[in-house]
Structure formats: structure tokens, C-alpha cells
Amino acid sequence: MIISVNGEEKFLNEPPVSINELLVVSEVESPEMVSVLLNGKVIEREKYEDTFIAEHDEVDFLYFMGGGSR
């Protein structure tokens, strides 16, 4: 199954893969610091377990970025 993660093609060989599993496979260190977009739709945290990736899906991990002052 070929999907896109942050704009780059990624091959997954054992579907089905949930958002939770994709976070692990993609080595996202702090999932709490990431907002997940699946085909442009924001996926709520409670739904990571039950939301599955399909062929050609586009997933974006968008990082919370603070900083600026101090």
C-alpha cells in the first residue's frame, strides 16, 4: 500500500494500519506534540485507534511549535 506522509511517498506492507500504528512506524517521538491530518481532515486523538489508512491516503503530521519570545 502506497501512501503519502508529509508529502513523501511511503510504502506500508501490512495493512490495515491505524493512525496510532502509523505514528509508531513513522517514529513520531511525541504524538502529543502532533496534529494529524488525513486527506486534509483533522483526526481527533480519541479516533487514532479506529481510523485506518487506505491506499493513496495523504497523511500529514503537523507539529505544535511554540517559541518566539523569552
Partner: protein, 267 residues
């Protein structure tokens, strides 16, 4: 139309030459009011460029005083300014660049009780804050008051920004929902930030403010622009208004401002 003095025509000549700005655009800039929240890594370059550009009224909010560890990136503050309130230090440099501006300083913490009254008077707000509760507060207050703003964040070698035009484009909460748990936010001593990144991101935010005021080009609305300075890869992610956004969605659950607990990552 405003009468430009000879000195103003010279000072702003490189703007006036631009087809998308011109005398009309410069007049809009001189009449504009922009609020810069945070006089730190992002707020400093934003404030200096807005002052240089001739944004007529610039407000600047920050409750801190200058520390030596700020000087690596907070470009409006000099070694002589250590222990001086950041808003005063920034104001001095802004007026040194452009003495004809009105600079309003707010040496305070923005909280639920004061933010709406402060931002209401401005055409555009720059979020250059250092913590997530204030970032969300700025977003919520700007959406409620329908004031466009630029979100900005930096960390290590990375930066991100988006522009929000309430009522037209998606808000910060559409994509980022709620502040991350404080214990997940990297502490500053762990994280660090390359100083020049603040300039890269801050000048993008200043550019967005100038584009909004003059109407030049198209804004970073519904777009998260992020970069990784290690590779110098820039990426735009298309965002959209989310029906289930707790603030600007179809059945909002956030209808008034509340103060969240402060989890300050002192970047």
C-alpha cells in the same frame, strides 16, 4: 490623500516604486495599526521591519525584561539593555529606525480579561508568543474580535507560520485544537533554537502583515508554511476550516475566553 513630505518620499521610495504598494500602499501602511505580541525572538524582527516599513501605529506587548540569553536571537535588544523591559528596549530601536511612528507599549501578560480590549484597536496581530496557552488565547480572541493575525512558532531548526483571517479562513484551533500537555512540551534547555531561525520566521510574519495592509499578493491563509533550516526545505500544507472546530466550527464549544495554565517553554 495624505501629503507625503520629501523626506517620507525618500524614506519609503523603495516601497513606492513597487507596483503592488506605491503611494497608496504606503499611505495604508502609515494609517495601519499592528499589534506585536511578544518582544522576543519573533517579535523583535517583526517590530523592526514594521517600523522600518512605516506602519504608523505599532503596539508591542511583553511582560519581561531583557536577559543575556535573549541576545543570541532577540535582535532588537542590545547588551546595554539587560534588565530593561523588553517593550522599552524594542520601542527605542523602532523609533531610532523611524521616529515618526506611534509606538504603544504594554508591559503586561495577556490574559483572558485584558486581551480583547487591547487587540480591538488594531488591524492585524502578530503572535510571537513563547507558550501555547497564550498562542491559543491570541487565536481565540482574534477570532472573536474578527481581527486577522499571523501565527508563528520556532523550535530548534524548524519554523512554522500561518495567517488567519477570521470568518474567511481556518483558525489555529481548526488544526491544532488545544494546547499540548505541559509535560510533552520540550523544555528550553532541552530544545534550544538557532538564533537566525527567529529572523527567518519573523520576517515572514512581518511580510504577511505588510501584504494584508497593502493588499499585495495572497496570504498564508488556510496554509501552514513550515521549514527545516537544516535542509532548507520549505513546505506548504493546505489547511481548511474544520466543521468540528471547537471555536469556529458549526457547534462551537468555546464561546468565551478562559486562562489555561501557563506552561512556558522559555525559548
Amino acid at each position: 490623500m495624505r501629503d507625503f513630505s520629501l523626506e517620507q518620499l525618500e524614506r519609503y521610495s523603495r516601497h513606492i516604486l513597487l507596483q503592488d504598494v506605491g503611494v497608496e500602499g504606503q499611505e495604508k501602511l502609515l494609517d495601519a495599526k499592528v499589534l506585536v505580541v511578544g518582544a522576543g525572538g519573533l517579535g523583535c524582527p517583526v517590530a523592526l521591519y514594521l517600523a522600518a516599513a512605516g506602519v504608523g501605529t505599532i503596539g508591542i506587548v511583553d511582560n519581561d525584561t531583557v536577559e543575556i540569553s535573549n541576545l543570541q536571537r532577540q535582535i532588537a535588544h542590545f547588551t546595554k539593555d539587560i534588565d530593561v523591559p523588553k517593550v522599552e528596549s524594542a520601542k527605542e530601536k523602532m523609533l531610532a529606525i523611524n521616529p515618526e511612528l506611534e509606538i504603544r507599549t504594554y508591559q503586561l501578560m495577556l490574559v483572558a480579561d485584558n486581551i480583547r480590549d487591547i487587540i480591538r484597536d488594531y488591524d492585524f496581530v502578530i503572535d510571537g508568543t513563547d507558550n501555547f496557552p497564550t498562542k491559543f488565547l491570541v487565536n481565540d480572541a482574534c477570532v472573536m474580535e474578527k481581527i486577522p493575525f499571523s501565527h508563528g512558532g520556532i523550535l530548534r531548526f524548524d519554523g512554522q507560520t500561518m495567517t488567519v483571517v477570521p470568518g474567511e479562513s481556518s483558525c489555529y484551533r481548526c488544526t491544532f485544537r488545544s494546547p499540548p500537555p505541559p509535560d510533552a512540551v520540550p523544555t528550553c534547555s532541552q530544545a534550544g533554537v538557532l538564533g537566525a531561525i527567529a529572523g527567518m520566521l519573523g520576517t515572514i510574519q512581518a511580510t504577511e502583515a505588510l501584504k494584508f495592509i497593502t493588499g499585495a499578493g495572497s496570504l498564508l491563509t488556510d496554509t501552514l508554511l513550515s521549514f527545516d533550516a537544516k535542509t532548507m526545505n520549505f513546505r506548504k500544507v493546505q489547511l481548511k476550516k474544520q466543521d468540528n472546530c471547537p471555536l469556529c466550527g458549526q457547534s462551537p464549544t468555546i464561546t468565551e475566553l478562559v486562562d489555561a495554565e501557563q506552561a512556558v517553554c522559555s525559548l
